[in-house]
Symmetry: none
Subunit: 191 residues, 4 copies
DNA sequence: CATGAATGAGGCTTCATTCAT
DNA sequence: GATGAATGAAGCCTCATTCAT
């Protein structure tokens, strides 16, 4: 039919993520993206009208995928540990979400719509975590005397903890240990 | 009142913080700053050659002040709770630090120097927290079987947990409760 | 129905006119035209290399048709009124001619040739009007003490007069009345 | 106080008009304007944020001035002739107004406001002409049996009539003659 | 022919920054 | 010091146009 494509969505997404993680969001322009992809800048405009549309499309894709994975952790013998492990693997999502405030949401209607969708997915994610914390067998072991939002927030905040020279699994173990038993030694242990 | 035609550092810092917290770092230009201060844009250049110098100067000032406060928490009957409380109060520091990756560190030598200093202060902060966690009376109650960096990271991560419709003190209580005892009910409690 | 994937000249002309009258000449691009026609932009290039060629071709077609109609008015019992009526009907020609100055005549040789042809047709039109004004029975009633070009210009200028809430025929009557007898009441009438 | 200005409003207006009359509105960019003024393109942005704002400001200025002049013609012994003469002198206004449909009114709020203002001035102009045609001594000589809007439209349309190798005053005479007495010789004259 | 893909040219804008007063 | 003026660099964006299939 026509000329072969040199860029496809996947390439775009990959280059977008690389560019942002390596250079920061402030370096994310179609100019830089085009250089990385080896195409003319205007070529990218045939795919996306605004950089904000590209980046939010990508973030939705990323977020959607990780929301799906949460379901898997629900069947883990230790679901909360599963979540932590999921976090460690999708750490870059967190970094990507961090740039949200820098995205010009007024750039276009599509961007606004995308941001709305991301917010939705984010809610969904929290809800799924909430379900794990309040229903099912695991929930019987989890304290219910602290507001759900704080419990969810706590789990999500752990993504911020630096890995600092240990393996992924070591990090998961350590974080899970504190999250489960607390920072303090147990009074019962001292008996 | 008529606009002040002279600026002082405090005004600069105040305007800088306000601008960034209200509009985001991407809106932080000398242009916007000048408008907010009611002076000509070029006037700011009499004080700062680069916006990066201004912002890092300000962040150092902010960071230095909060590092000082950590010492106070050490004398708290519950030092870790004190840290949490400090966090909730200095939440905007966290927001400010978040923009670090967006600062062009190559802007000038002074900027580089400032960033170095900030890193130092950050280390200092962690160290002070480390001291609280490993020495003194409180330390005897804190688990030492998890790497210090993870413990510190955990405490610092709590700043991310949303407050969501509770008072500051309620939030502090909830967060401290989980941090201290863990997310799970204690086996001993079920006995 | 599915979009036609083949274009013919008539469609091109229709879409061209619609696009220009609805959106203005500044919105006349092959991009917009292609969208309206439901074909790929590059397809249009199989017919026209330049948008200027298309538009001038179309204008020639339009102009030629209206020049033909002038002959009909010559046999009207009131030829000048016939011209006015012709005007009211072909008002969009006037709009189309208005965009002439915005056409880049240097776009191609064909464009230059087309513009030349349009000028010719325009001359022809004026000439035909001139003939009506200077020969034949009607001419005996028309004042010859004013330069022909001004007389012709006067008639052609009437196309600019707004219709403003009357019927076409009312407008024709009013305009013709003034054109024939003048704006002033006649001294003879007051006698 | 500060550096001497190299461009002022008048220069801007002059260059704007020249550029448009010589090259057409399609060539009216800040780039071209800057070249003509011998300044950097960005310099113009210190005066006007959008080319549409500049051009509409200029057109308002132009229109306002010519509206004022209408009052003068009212005291002319032959007010309608005065209007015609005014037209011939301000012919370029007409050309400028012709470009109105090409101005992107959505460019900014200021543009929208300006366009509103122009419309207002235009109405005012018509009204003033209407007053001349319907009140005062002159009005007694003017036919009132044709709608006012057509009479006004007629006068305004005369600006379109080409001058074609005569002096301004000759043109004014010819146009006024036809406008006053009509295109046809009077029946009384043939008696 | 029709088309999807790629591109270059050109215009738009925003700021940081310098400079003369 | 404070300021208004001017500017360059850099990013944004839209099309016309070419080309291979």
């Amino acid at each position: 039919m026509s000329r072969k494509k040199t860029i496809d969505r996947v390439d775009l997404y990959t280059a977008t993520e690389e560019l942002i993680l390596e250079e920061g969001y402030s370096s994310f322009h179609f100019k830089a993206l085009a250089e990385r992809l080896g195409v003319a800048r205007s070529t990218i405009y045939n795919y996306y009208d605004k950089k904000e549309e590209l980046i939010t499309d990508y973030m939705i894709h990323l977020l959607a995928r990780s929301v799906e994975r949460i379901d898997d952790t629900a069947h883990d013998p230790e679901p909360v540990k599963g979540l932590i492990r999921l976090w460690s693997r999708y750490a870059h999502i967190h970094q990507m979400l961090q740039i949200m405030p820098y995205i010009d949401q007024e750039a276009s209607d599509k961007v606004k719509e995308n941001v709305r969708r991301m917010f939705q997915l984010f809610m969904e994610m929290k809800e799924k975590i909430g379900v794990i914390l309040t229903t099912g067998e695991e929930a019987t072991k989890i304290r219910q005397d602290v507001s759900l939002s704080t419990r969810i927030g706590f789990i999500m905040a752990t993504v911020q903890i630096p890995i600092q020279g240990m393996t992924e699994e070591e990090w998961v173990d350590e974080v899970y240990t504190i999250l489960r038993d607390g920072l303090y030694t147990k009074p019962t242990d001292t008996r």
